[in-house]
Symmetry: C2
Subunit: 228 residues, 2 copies
């Protein structure tokens, strides 16, 4: 029994380490995708696209480990929550990677069109905000930091406000010059993807809260905007 | 022990029933959201928006039940996979509901602008295709139908092709008349949301396959398009 318990703790520690690694990869994907768009760097964008497969593999690995862990040691209470949380966290992080890959693909296309300098500053601002939320959520996970998780969760609106304002700027730009319509639709989706990554940061904060306390954070403080 | 086993089977049956109910609700949300857009029916759109909260509640209920089930009876093999699959299926279905709600919100806005009749037909076609995929995936789940799950999974590309063609039609429309830019951006996101619902149908098919066989369907047959 003693032996099994130790094996279980080791498995949990491995699970946490793999999740942290997936978190780090997801953060790098988002950060590089954004940089490739802002600096018009197709080589970096290509790297982001190619690296995404690593995140997919790591997600499957984490799912396998979490599922085996539940079968192996039939955990209860906090240990069960850790295993369930691992499944959910990895799904959210893998999805952040997908969204970053999509931003990078659009960066590849946009890098071949005329620069749209006035739009890059608000995109960069929104991107930095989203990245900070993702980092904070991942820190909350690494350190089991309930206060930080709660903070990420309750600052959800800031991203929505940036998104709404960026959306309006993009529309104005498109209406001012029809030649910008095609590239601007890519930027619209970039903005939407950033908003979604912000939502995943909120999800991660919720999962961390649930993992530690066993209680759901409900009634998410989201503006009734165009989320989806 | 006999008693516990029976209780466990009953819990599993309840879990499956709740999942089927969530599946039915998600399907209705997508179907009604699409209808509200095509027929310009703000009342129906409003119903879709309001009904979404039921899906959120049901997802939490399913999560609770699946987690308790894992703690209660420490299931192995197929039973463990059923509990894990329930967590993943409910997350995918709740997300379909979110995407439908988003389509309905955009239907509300678009219903107040000039009708864009030529665009409604391709949107309806894509919507019907996506709905059929979602229904098939849900049927595969209800009936443990491996063949149908595999079929849904391998026909993933059809939706992407519809999306790409609809995207081009929307761009052409916007470039032809700057006044249509704002409403058309809503339709762009509707198309993207439908594509995403199609992706969730693929996910559901993958989960059903894993639940039954214990094997992952990997190397998803997706076009390298703008997924995200």
């Amino acid at each position: 029994m003693e032996h099994t318990l130790r094996a279980f703790d080791e498995e949990l520690a491995l699970l946490k380490a793999e999740l942290s690694r997936l978190g780090g990869l997801a953060e790098a994907e988002v950060s590089d995708a954004l940089a490739s768009l802002i600096t018009r760097d197709p080589r970096l964008a290509q790297q982001v696209v190619e690296r995404d497969v690593k995140l997919d593999q790591l997600e499957l690995q984490i799912e396998d480990r979490a599922t085996r862990l539940m079968a192996l040691r039939q955990p209860v209470a906090i240990d069960l929550r850790r295993a369930v949380a691992a499944l959910k966290l990895s799904a959210n992080l893998e999805r952040c990677g997908d969204l970053a890959k999509n931003i990078a693909k659009r960066a590849l296309i946009v890098s071949e069109t005329e620069p749209m300098a006035p739009l890059m500053r608000p995109i960069e601002r929104m991107g930095r905000l989203v990245l900070r939320r993702l980092r904070d959520a991942l820190d909350a996970h690494s350190r089991d930091d309930l206060v930080l998780a709660q903070e990420v969760w309750s600052n959800d609106r800031e991203v929505d406000e940036h998104y709404e304002s960026l959306f309006r700027e993009l529309l104005t730009y498109m209406m001012g010059d029809a030649r910008t319509i095609a590239p601007c639709t890519h930027l619209l989706f970039v903005a939407k993807n950033l908003e979604r990554i912000g939502d995943h940061a909120t999800n991660i904060a919720e999962i961390v809260h649930y993992e530690i306390t066993g209680e759901q954070l409900t009634a998410r403080p989201k503006l009734e905007t165009m989320e989806g």
